[in-house]
């Protein structure tokens, strides 16, 4: 497989340039749509080449390199397999703002969440399980819709890297995080 970390013939590892993208590590094209099974297959295949267990008898430098490479591969895999993290990563390598630089969310999402939170508090103290379930269903519907919007915006990357697109995607991802946090509290 085409990956820049290891020579398959001699099991020698190469340090990875920090600028190497997660996509290139797995030999995948830089785009949002990924076949999860293919990604997993590639992840296992590279892990078989770089995992520190296969270098336990080698020189300490080689062991240290295997450790770092494995950590890098794991980080790349965890990022690419999750649709929201993948979109956020694609956003960042396309020159978009980080979550620290831009904290805004779409429209009146925060006000909506605050209202849903009040609904849940009221329903909890009244023991109204149906009302809680209704809020849960609402949150899930909003997350599904947000994920759809994130996916369709991300599919335009990295080619169309206009600021408006990047900022809109940033806001959608920020909003998704608020929804996730709220869902975790339910």
């Amino acid at each position: 497989m085409d990956s820049p970390v290891c020579c398959q013939a001699c099991h020698t590892l190469y340090p990875v340039d920090p600028s190497e993208t997660h996509f290139r590590l797995f030999g995948l094209p830089t785009r949002y749509d990924i076949d999860p099974a293919e990604l997993h297959r590639r992840f296992l295949s590279i892990s078989r080449q770089v995992h520190p267990d296969f270098f336990s008898g080698r020189q300490p430098e080689m062991q240290a390199l295997a450790l770092r490479l494995s950590a890098r591969i794991n980080e790349a895999y965890e990022t690419l397999r999750d649709p929201v993290l993948r979109a956020e990563y694609l956003l960042e390598i396309s020159g978009g703002k980080s979550s620290a630089e831009c904290k805004s969310v779409p429209g009146c999402l925060l006000a909506d969440i605050m209202m849903m939170r009040e609904d849940v508090d009221r329903a909890r103290s009244a023991g109204d399980h149906a009302a809680i379930a209704a809020v849960k269903a609402d949150v899930e519907a909003r997350r599904a819709a947000a994920l759809d919007r994130i996916a369709s915006l991300s599919r335009r990357l990295p080619e169309e890297r206009c600021p408006a697109l990047l900022d809109e995607l940033r806001r959608e991802i920020n909003g998704m995080k608020f929804l996730d946090n709220f869902a975790a509290q339910l």
Partner: protein
């Protein structure tokens, strides 16, 4: 430097029992004693003269020596005194103290025996050394490298303590692997070429710890999806319930408090036996003679034991639910369930696990041995550099740092694949500040004080700059053993910042080194003691044999020869009773052998002539 293909052993360092195994082309083998028993009780008995007995003998004499017999030391590994005092202290008959330390902010637990403080890694090292020696005898050469298993739910401090124990025992710990993962390896599930991927749950209820791991296995890759557990929940807790029941009933019936260290130890053994008996039978008779004609008698039904054990089993199933949630799965997604640990022999545990997962658990392998077998398989892989199998594990607990206001700021979330790393930026708050102190935590709670403290470190040598200007990048790297490494770099100057992590409940590298040296001295004393015992036995045997020969062939010797031998026997016996120098006794034995040579020859002549009747 060890040879590349030198045998690496696999060690299951358990709360109640430990085992050692090794692997060759034929597969893994447990090292067993003459009786075929592979388990070595993790029990140590210290005598006042500095000798230590480990294993079945120590366990058998635990009742006579409650204050000098140490068991369940694994429960104290990597923990602080304050932490242990709350949960364990009441139940341990031996003396647990806080190790005197010159480092402020550190709290290391120790066991005090005969006025000497021993840390849990030092005590575990004695068990490891015993296993190392056993394996060395079985293999015919010294063992220097080992894979050691730990509960999947062990935190960084507990893992480090285990690794330190290995070092103190003179072992290079090439890998620490999680017990459930080892068990999955031993079952070899999914190793058949072309086998479809399967998802398995490993339920591991040992003497003192509980783990649940969910794994996906495909083509020789063992990928842990999630893990959960409780490092302080095990068969010991069920024994404790029985002990408390007995104590309560004895008090009610005879107004008698039975809670001295010695009685507590006896009751513990009794409770464990009772629990094991009730795994095979529906009821068991209890009869305890309390002296002065007071006889405590009753029968216990299995159902009654199960009522005592049920809340503990509930807690394990709550862990199972959490592990499934973290893996994004439902019980019905689990293809196989593997049972590990002696406590899974309880019919109640089997029944409830089967109900929960809706599948009959695998029990083909001995639940006491399966972890050691898996460790040996992994050791074989590491020694032989084979590539047909791969373990991909996760970090069991979130890692973070204490932020302003005492909150826990998570940096690496639980169930993240290891090795993994995370980087955090730090800066200064005061102009010219050259040090930053960072407190590292592990756990899931919101507040720093509710999480386990792994230690703190100081970033030093920051170039003096206005506040907020220095940019220090700290890298937290968790290796494939689940052990944390911290490094830091000041980005403006490009300088590596100096870091020394002061472990909150652990030992410094210098202490481990000193303990290793001390343990060699300890071992040598031990060896001397063993040699003396062997030589004394030899003396007794030789003197006995000489008396027999004198009886049979003494008439063939000249009278002065005979009296010289008799005098030498008295002399040798006196030396054997008084000396502590094995070399001196060895010399005396050789001299005695030379002196009795004429008698031995006379005895042979006598026997050949056949008139010894």
């Amino acid at each position: 430097m060890p040879e590349p293909n030198e045998t690496i052993v696999g060690i299951d360092l358990g709360t109640t029992h430990s085992l050692v195994a090794w692997c060759d082309e034929a597969g893994p083998h447990i090292v067993r004693d003459e009786q075929g028993e592979g388990r070595v009780p993790s029990v140590l008995c210290f005598s006042p003269d500095g000798r230590v007995t480990i294993g079945w003998e120590a366990r058998a004499h635990a009742v006579e020596n409650p204050l000098t017999t140490v068991f369940s030391i694994k429960r104290l590994m990597g923990r602080g005194f304050a932490d242990v005092a709350q949960s364990e202290l009441r139940y341990l008959p031996y003396r647990v103290v806080r190790l005197e330390s010159d480092t402020p902010g550190r709290d290391v637990v120790a066991v005090e025996i005969h006025g000497r403080s021993l840390t849990p890694p030092e005590i575990s090292a004695l068990i490891l050394r015993e296993l190392k020696d056993r394996a060395g005898r079985a293999l015919g050469r010294e063992v220097r490298r080992a894979v050691i298993t730990v509960p999947a739910y062990f935190d960084d401090a507990q893992r480090q303590a285990t690794r330190d124990a290995g070092r103190i025992a003179g072992l290079e710990v090439v890998r620490i692997i999680n017990e459930p993962t080892a068990a999955a390896l031993a079952y070899g599930l999914g190793l058949r070429p072309g086998a479809p991927p399967s998802v398995i749950a490993v339920y591991d209820l040992g003497g003192g710890t509980f783990d649940i791991s969910i794994l996906r296995i495909e083509g020789g890759v063992f990928e842990v999806l999630s893990t959960h557990g409780d490092t302080h929940l095990g068969g010991d807790d069920i024994d404790r319930e029985i002990v408390q029941l007995l104590q309560r009933e004895v008090k009610e019936r005879f107004a008698l408090d039975i809670d001295s260290p010695r009685i507590r130890q006896a009751l513990r053994n009794f409770a464990e036996d009772l629990k094991i008996r009730l795994s095979d039978r529906e009821q068991a008779a209890i009869c305890i003679d309390l002296g002065a004609g007071r006889l405590y008698e009753r029968t216990m039904e299995r159902a009654e034991l199960e009522r005592l054990a049920d809340p503990w089993v509930d807690r394990t199933l709550a862990s199972c639910r959490q592990a499934l949630r973290d893996a994004g799965l439902e019980p019905r997604h689990i293809n196989h369930v593997v049972l590990v640990g002696g406590s899974t022999r309880m019919p109640l545990v089997r029944r409830r696990v089967q109900e929960f997962f809706g599948t009959v658990p695998y029990t083909a392998l001995n639940p006491d041995e399966v972890v050691a077998l898996g460790a040996a398989i992994q050791a074989g892989t590491l020694a032989g550099q084979k590539r047909d199998m791969l373990l991909l594990d996760v970090v069991p607990l979130s890692l973070g740092i204490e932020t302003l206001g005492g909150a826990m700021g998570k940096i690496i979330l639980r169930n993240t694949r290891i090795p993994c790393r995370a980087r955090e930026m730090f800066t200064t708050f005061v102009d010219g500040q050259t040090n930053i102190r960072i407190h590292v935590l592990q756990g899931e709670r919101e507040l720093a004080r509710d999480c386990r403290s792994l230690g703190s470190f100081e970033l030093r040598g920051i170039p003096p700059m206005p506040a907020g200007l220095p940019k220090i990048e700290v890298e937290f790297l968790i290796d494939h053993n689940g052990i944390l490494h911290v490094s830091a770099c000041e980005l403006r100057s490009g300088r590596q910042a100096a870091i020394q992590v002061v472990p909150a409940h652990g030992l410094t590298p210098q202490e481990v080194e000193r303990m290793e040296l001390e343990s060699y001295r300890f071992a040598r004393q031990d060896m001397t003691a063993h040699r003396l015992i062997d030589l004394r036995n030899q003396v007794a045997f030789d003197i006995d044999k000489t008396w027999q020969m004198l009886g049979k062939a003494g008439q063939r010797l000249a009278p002065e020869q005979r009296s010289r031998i008799e005098a030498a026997m008295a002399c040798l016996q006196a030396l054997a009773d008084s000396t502590s120098d094995p070399d001196e006794l060895h010399r005396a034995l050789s001299e005695f052998g030379r002196l009795t040579m004429p008698l031995a020859e006379a005895a042979v002549t006598q026997a050949l002539q056949g008139d010894d009747a």
